[in-house]
């Protein structure tokens, strides 16, 4: 069983939840996710689990952290869970980010709550690699928590918001492109809303920059049995890739981003 040891507001409708496993869990890779049961007792409503990417993991203390935004019924219930409550979760699930052997300059580009999985990735990479982090959101307050966390790591970080000027005013993509001439990328990692993924992918491919992105598909099971999360491969419409098994991390240009 998993016990909740923290569940606190860290931004506008954004919560950090920390869970402690009482038996050893498999070490998640950055980009992998867990599927959380968001109801108590035997209530059958809501019925499905909710997927959340690993925000952080400590193998010694067996502490697992997620950062989530309250957007609907499931996340609202999750936010009401109290310290000491136990949580039913499945994972780690899916395929995470590829960790580079000897890339020189890695760029992490995150938008909105899509920033969450990039923190664990950055933490795992920060010592060996040269990281530049580009984060965007609607408002500055959405970024405060992330800024604080990333700034503890060895990496360069630039922020942007739609509503106010930080290092920049605009999208994470625009921020990244603006800095690209000075700061060349060997490999990028992208996470955020599908629209953003699409736009970043386009610009990156046009510049021959290789990288990976993490998609958010509505999931039924998270374990590959229902085909809800099926993505069409760019090669052929009949080659399908399940976001929960072959993803959620895909290579740039690997699957159609159609939403």
């Amino acid at each position: 069983m998993f016990k909740i040891i923290a569940n606190r507001l860290v931004g506008p409708k954004i919560y950090e939840i920390i869970i402690k496993a009482d038996k050893l869990i498999e070490q998640p890779q950055p980009g992998q996710f867990f599927n959380l049961k968001v109801n108590k007792l035997k209530s059958k409503d809501p019925f499905l689990r909710r997927p959340f990417s690993v925000f952080d993991f400590n193998p010694v203390s067996q502490q697992l952290t997620f950062v989530y935004r309250v957007v609907g019924r499931g996340t609202e219930i999750l936010s009401s869970f109290k310290v000491g409550d136990s949580l039913d979760l499945l994972g780690p699930l899916g395929k995470g980010f590829t960790l580079p052997e000897n890339k020189k300059s890695l760029h992490l580009i995150g938008g909105g709550i899509g920033i969450a999985p990039l923190y664990y990735l950055a933490r795992v990479l920060a010592d060996q690699q040269q990281l530049s982090i580009y984060l965007g959101a609607e408002t500055k307050t959405e970024l405060n928590f992330f800024q604080q966390k990333f700034s503890e790591l060895k990496c360069s970080i630039k922020l942007t918001a739609m509503a106010e000027k930080l290092d920049f005013k605009g999208t994470a993509l625009q921020l990244w492109l603006k800095n690209l001439p000075a700061n060349k990328a060997d490999f990028i990692y992208v996470c955020g809303p599908e629209k953003m993924l699409l736009a970043v992918e386009k610009e990156a491919l046009a510049r021959n920059i290789d990288g990976e992105l993490s998609v958010e598909k509505r999931m039924g099971c998270g374990i590959g049995i229902c085909l809800s999360c099926s993505c069409q491969s760019v090669e052929s419409p009949l080659t399908r890739k399940r976001a929960c098994i072959e993803g959620p991390v895909f290579k740039l240009g690997e699957v159609e981003l159609d939403e």
């Binding site: 409503d45 019925f47 374990i223 229902c226 999360c229 399908r240 098994i245």
Partner: protein, 320 residues
């Protein structure tokens, strides 16, 4: 009826075996009544990570069509109160690839495999059945005359008794094995199609597939599923499914596989009492991959509590 004990229960002396036996003598013997429902259990190996698949009574494949199908666009799934609405749209590699790639994977388990087949016209079913007739690993066909997610097919067959009769008979002519006809609940009286299947020679019927349903995204002000409509499954539909099983049990002589919203041992018992000989586990697998094991234990607890040593004595008992 059946005296053989399931291997795992020798000590407990509780007999969970169930025999899907029709008037005409054909039968399918299961060590327990739990069958995975089509489309909710992948290829087997995905669930096998969570429990020993051999604990199941039987395994049903995802719907197979003649040609490969990409399925519907995403989003393909939405949630409703105690239910889910899906419009997967029969994504599958086609019968040939199924035989070449998927079947060997599933066949490694020591389980009866039921192949769920779908078509866009009667001949599709026949052609698939011919190909599958050669596969020894397959214990029977589940003919899906009820998928609401494909246009021009599925649903239309399943709502007209005459059509159900014709397709079932055509398949019967080319397929010598066990044939289950899976029916749609989107119909005024399901006993009409169930009787049509029986008359055409079906060995069993499976009740029910999903109910036609939809969800509208009130922020975007348009249907949430890319396909507009989907099929409702899960606990929400259980009382409808139980009623259809109960009602059909009074008219049919062939056995019924009951499914729709089963989540617990109690739910299984309810379907058995209504008249099901075996049951399908569908949506619950999405929520709880190892549900089958818990459910088996709950069934045993019930039988012990009621001092019954044969599960089969429950079948249809609510009709007395």
């Amino acid at each position: 009826m059946n005296k053989q004990q399931s291997a795992t229960d020798l000590t407990e002396k509780i007999d969970l075996a169930t025999v899907l036996k029709a008037k005409n003598g054909s039968h399918l013997k299961l060590k327990n009544p739990l069958i995975t429902a089509s489309g909710t259990c992948g290829n087997g190996h995905e669930l096998a990570k969570f429990f020993d698949l051999n604990q199941l009574g039987a395994f049903t494949t995802k719907g197979i069509t003649l040609q490969a199908q990409p399925g519907n666009k995403t989003p393909r799934i939405a949630e409703s109160a105690a239910g889910i609405i899906n419009s997967i749209g029969l994504e599958n590699p086609g019968v040939d690839q199924f035989i070449a790639k998927k079947l060997p994977e599933t066949a490694q388990y020591n389980l009866p495999i039921l192949a769920n087949i779908s078509g866009y016209q009667a001949d599709d079913f026949v052609n698939i059945a011919i190909k599958l007739a050669e596969q020894k690993e397959i214990s029977g066909l589940e003919v899906n005359l009820s998928c609401p997610n494909i246009k021009g097919g599925g649903m239309i067959f399943g709502t007209d008794p005459e059509n159900v009769f014709q397709i079932t008979r055509k398949i019967k002519q080319v397929y010598p094995g066990y044939i289950i006809v899976k029916l749609t609940p989107n119909i005024t009286d399901i006993t009409t199609t169930a009787l049509a299947a029986e008359e055409a020679g079906a060995d069993a019927v499976a009740l029910i597939n999903t109910l036609s349903a939809m969800k509208i995204d009130i922020e975007k002000q348009k249907p949430l599923l890319a396909n507009t409509y989907g099929g409702l499954s899960g606990p929400a539909i259980k009382p409808i499914a139980v009623k259809m099983v109960y009602q059909s049990y009074q008219k049919l002589t062939i056995p019924i596989i009951g499914l729709g919203g089963i989540c617990s041992g109690s739910d299984v018992i309810e379907f058995l009492l209504a008249g099901a000989t075996a049951v399908g586990l569908g949506s619950i697998n999405l929520r709880e991959p190892a549900a089958a094991l818990r459910i088996l234990a709950e069934i045993k607890d019930y039988l012990k509590k009621h001092q019954l040593n044969k599960l089969s004595s429950l079948i249809g008992a609510a009709h007395q």
